[in-house]
């Protein structure tokens, strides 16, 4: 498991309460959290921000710009894992999210320990492939 301290994460959720709670949980782990409740500014955050994000956590169903849009955007940036966390769960949505390249798919409500565990796995360095 990797160390989360000073890792930078972009959290996107149009539900303010959920955004604040996730921000608190991740900040307590020492992460640098940028919370965004307006999904339309995700483009500028990802493309123009000084910060280079190590991870994106996004809601799936939001007005104007959905989590699928965030996912498509993030897929343009290689090695940027995306975790989907949604209130609209279900096997179809999960399969679609994973197919679109999401690292993990979580359904609300999620426990803090589970969230941290998934974040750690997303940020873990890729396993060394033995030569030969």
């Amino acid at each position: 498991m990797s160390d989360l301290r000073n890792k930078s994460v972009l959290v996107v959720d149009d539900n303010q309460g959920m955004l604040r709670a996730m921000t608190r949980v991740l900040s307590k782990e020492g992460m640098r959290v940028t919370g965004v409740s307006d999904p339309t500014v995700v483009v500028s955050k990802l493309m123009e921000s000084e910060t280079r994000f190590d991870l994106v956590i996004t809601d799936l169903r939001m007005p104007m710009f959905s989590g699928r849009g965030v996912l498509a955007l993030a897929s343009a940036l290689p090695e940027l894992p995306v975790i989907i966390i949604t209130a609209f769960g279900g096997p179809d949505a999960e399969a679609q999210a994973i197919r679109l390249g999401a690292f993990a798919f979580l359904e609300k409500p999620v426990a803090a320990a589970e969230l941290i565990d998934v974040v750690k796995r997303a940020l873990a360095p890729p396993p060394l492939i033995p030569e030969g």
Binding site: D14, N15, Q16, G17, M18, R20, A21, M22, R24, V25, K28, S37, R61, M62, P63, M64, I85, A87, F88, E107, K108, P109, V110, A111, A112, A113, L115
Partner: protein, 366 residues
């Protein structure tokens, strides 16, 4: 089958009886037209061939009674010719009668068959209509359930994470850290606000699901707005929204439930205020429009796209992150219940105007 045999026997007996009567009455009394009766009975009840047979019997009965009466003709062939003519006449009558009977029978059959088909179709339509309504209800319940799940899972997600955080803070508080207690208070406040949110969402859904029975009275729209808008003033000040009012003092009263109507107006006003996140002007007007009262609620906010305008009153359609998409649908439901209608004109970037028409109370139109 039994009735056919009975009718045939009766027709034969009648033909013989007529033959005897013909013989007894002598040649002067013409009763040969009565032979039609057994022929027709046999043809109608037992069918064409029986009719022919009875017709032949009647012609024979006539011929025999004529011979027994000792009739003399110029040629012995004349009575035979007369009997054949009578038989041919019977043949034609039987033919026509049975043809009429067959077509009558087919017509009856067709009417019966078509009536049955029509009945079956009506039943089928009723069944389809019923299952369509059922399917629509199920679809609405399904989409409502999905929406409720979404609305509730969001605050629950926040509460769940905050509970975990409180757990962590309480562990830290074992070391009697005052900062942890303060942190716990913040988290509890956060959870309280999320519980309030859940409560609000459930209230909105319940209100939409079952409209309470309205208690209608004649009411002045001016009075209703003057009373209720004053309560809104602090919220409007807070949002930097300037309220302009123009009420027609001579407007006749409308018949309506003041609480429900205010609920409808309030949903429209909320929508207008939300469309002006940086403040602006909210205009509320009432005026007479023919036999209706016209309420206009306008904002100079961001307006709507054509897609947003099209879906404005569709339940669950929303562009707001904390909206249930039921506010305007509920407003429309209330206005329709009051025999009125609600419309919206909008211009992207310039604002929107909602027009609500309500009929005047009966006898109040001047």
């Amino acid at each position: 089958m039994r009735s056919k045999i009975l009718a045939t026997v009766a027709a034969i007996a009648l033909a013989i009886a007529l033959g005897v009567l013909d013989y007894l009455t002598g040649r002067e009394w013409a009763i040969s037209a009565f032979y039609l009766l057994p022929t027709c009975i046999a043809a109608w009840v037992a069918g064409r061939w029986t009719g022919f047979a009875v017709g032949a019997l009647c012609a024979s009965a006539w011929f025999i009674s004529d011979m027994l009466n000792g009739a003399t003709y110029q040629s012995p062939l004349i009575p035979i010719w007369n009997a054949i003519m009578l038989f041919v006449f019977f043949l034609v009558v039987v033919w026509l009668l049975t043809a009429f009977r067959t077509s009558h029978y087919y017509l009856e059959q067709t009417v019966e068959r078509r009536t049955a088909a029509l009945r079956a179709e009506i039943e089928e339509r009723k069944r389809l209509e019923h299952s369509k309504i059922q399917a629509e209800r199920l679809a609405l319940v399904g989409s409502m359930a999905a929406q409720v799940a979404h609305e509730i899972r969001n605050p629950l997600g926040s509460i769940s994470l905050n509970l975990d955080l409180i757990g962590g803070e309480l562990d830290a508080a074992a070391n009697a850290d005052a900062r942890s207690f303060e942190e716990c208070r913040v988290l509890l406040r956060e959870m309280r606000s999320q519980v309030v949110r859940i409560h609000q969402v459930l209230q909105e859904y319940l209100q939409f699901g079952r409209m309470p029975k309205s208690e209608r009275a004649t009411l002045s729209l001016k009075g209703l707005f003057e009373e209720k808008l004053s309560f809104l003033q602090p919220l409007l000040n807070d949002k930097h929204v300037h309220l302009r009012k123009a009420f027609d003092a001579d407007l006749p009263p409308v018949l309506g439930d003041p609480e429900q109507l205010w609920e409808a107006f309030l949903n429209v006003i909320r929508n207008a205020v939300d469309a002006m996140p940086d403040g602006g002007n909210l205009t509320v007007n009432t005026k007479k429009n023919g036999t209706k009262a016209l309420v206009s609620i306008s904002d100079d906010g961001r307006g709507m796209t054509s897609e947003e305008a099209r879906n404005l009153f569709v339940p669950f359609f929303t562009t707001k992150s904390d909206g249930t998409g039921l506010g305007l649908a509920h407003a429309q439901q209330i206005v329709n219940e009051h025999g009125g209608k609600i419309d919206c004109t909008t211009s992207l970037g310039k604002g929107s105007t909602f027009s609500i028409e309500l009929p005047f109370a009966v006898g109040c139109v001047t």
